[in-house]
Symmetry: C2
């Protein structure tokens, strides 16, 4: 275990740089903050590059081959994004697990970090198999996104693609229905049971919806019913309703 | 039209007081900010008590019997919660429309203003008939809640109750199923089609779920499937999934 006390230590500079996308991209890693999140990362088999402990951290340490560093409280605060970082953080390599087909969610320009994190967490819970993000989405490794994912980032394969229209065209060409969630499409619940087990659901930007280039490659235009006088739904809520309906179709029992 | 220029004008003091729950409760009114929201309030037949315009506001004014006041920009900023209040605001009486039965949502200690606002908006869109809030919920007339409701506050009857267990007991006693959304209950989708058209769905606090006193009076304990490794869902997302499934049961078509 090494003790670091200087703000100018190169390791501190790297850890602090993980707050920004540039630093994350350059190192291929991100910072996991807090005991529960670090334990979740380790439990999920994520590759921990450095474990960073505040000097007064006394909780039992996880079994780990990564180097461990002790830092004073002001250095911990300098490195971490959270105001109360709980004395433990881990520089962690981007998860790299195979992206298989199946039930896929694609996000087109979803920019609010809380929305992206909540959607990722919901996709994991609903039983989706993977997430594709357009390059205009919030970075899934940004601190605010990570806090909203509640650990699901370690379970759900995620792909950020340079061209979402190209990626979705490939899926459509291979026979996968690509379902655009739009405002004036066909009734979602009416077609639900006609869809196969493998599909790609596309959710658009909070204000502008799905871009025209992406809509052009979608095979279905679907809309949730809007009763009352509401004009639209929050992107994370709409995504949750559609994913759960699609993933739970076979569980509907009843009278 | 009256022009007000002094920060110490009693009307300014009242408008500014609407930022806080105390001021709203004392006046029975709240502040609607921005052109779209004010138009929505008027269109919905809400009772406007004062229309407040910034002195350089030049958009056409709605037909209205309420008194109109002109104020300079710094007074507008002092009154409004939004940073860019768009030059128009309206002191508006609490909506007072009849609370009928039917499809009811009850919130037990949902404290995040964004969650409460999003849930209200989703309830309106899903086709719910009313919302009951425990006294420990965020105030639906707080500025942050209003922004998240996107106008649904003017369409969905809402009741804040001193004792949620008492209110739900009454519903249960009158034969309405009271459905607790909990973590270890019966599978939600399996019982969905056994439920009648009138029901009350209960959503709990973001961290602690539904309080024991409320759980004790619920007639059903229901749980959404949790696949992946997610432990729970965001309260607004869970509410949205359940409300849409309950309100759209009859629209499911398919193969």
């Amino acid at each position: 275990m090494e003790t670091i006390t200087s703000l100018h230590n190169p390791k501190v500079t790297v850890w602090r740089s993980l707050r920004d996308r540039k630093g994350r991209m350059e190192t291929g890693s991100f910072l996991v903050e807090g005991r529960r999140s670090v334990e979740e990362a380790i439990r999920s088999g994520a590759s921990i590059l450095s474990l960073i402990l505040q000097d007064d951290y006394t909780e039992p340490l996880p079994q780990l081959s990564a180097p461990v560093y002790r830092v004073p409280a002001h250095l911990m605060a300098h490195i971490c994004d959270t105001k109360t970082p709980q004395g433990i953080a881990a520089q962690t390599a981007f998860p790299d697990f195979p992206f298989r087909g199946g039930k896929i969610l694609a996000l087109d320009g979803v920019q609010d970090p809380g929305n992206v994190g909540t959607i990722l967490r919901t996709a994991d819970a609903a039983g989706m198999d993977g997430l594709i993000l357009s390059d205009s989405c919030a970075d899934i490794y940004a601190p605010k996104v990570l806090r909203a994912t509640m650990g699901s980032i370690f379970h759900l394969p995620c792909q950020r693609v340079a061209s979402l229209p190209d990626r979705l065209s490939q899926l459509a060409a291979s026979g996968i229905p690509v379902l655009a969630s739009v405002l004036n499409g066909n009734p979602f619940f009416a077609v639900l049971n006609t869809l196969p087990d493998s599909f790609c659901l596309v959710i658009g930007n909070e204000g502008n919806g799905i871009s025209q280039q992406v809509q052009d490659v979608c095979t279905h235009r679907l809309t949730l019913p809007m009763r009352g006088d509401a004009e639209s739904l929050n992107a994370a809520v709409a995504a949750g309703i559609m994913m759960y309906a699609l993933c739970s179709r076979n569980e509907w029992g009843g009278a």
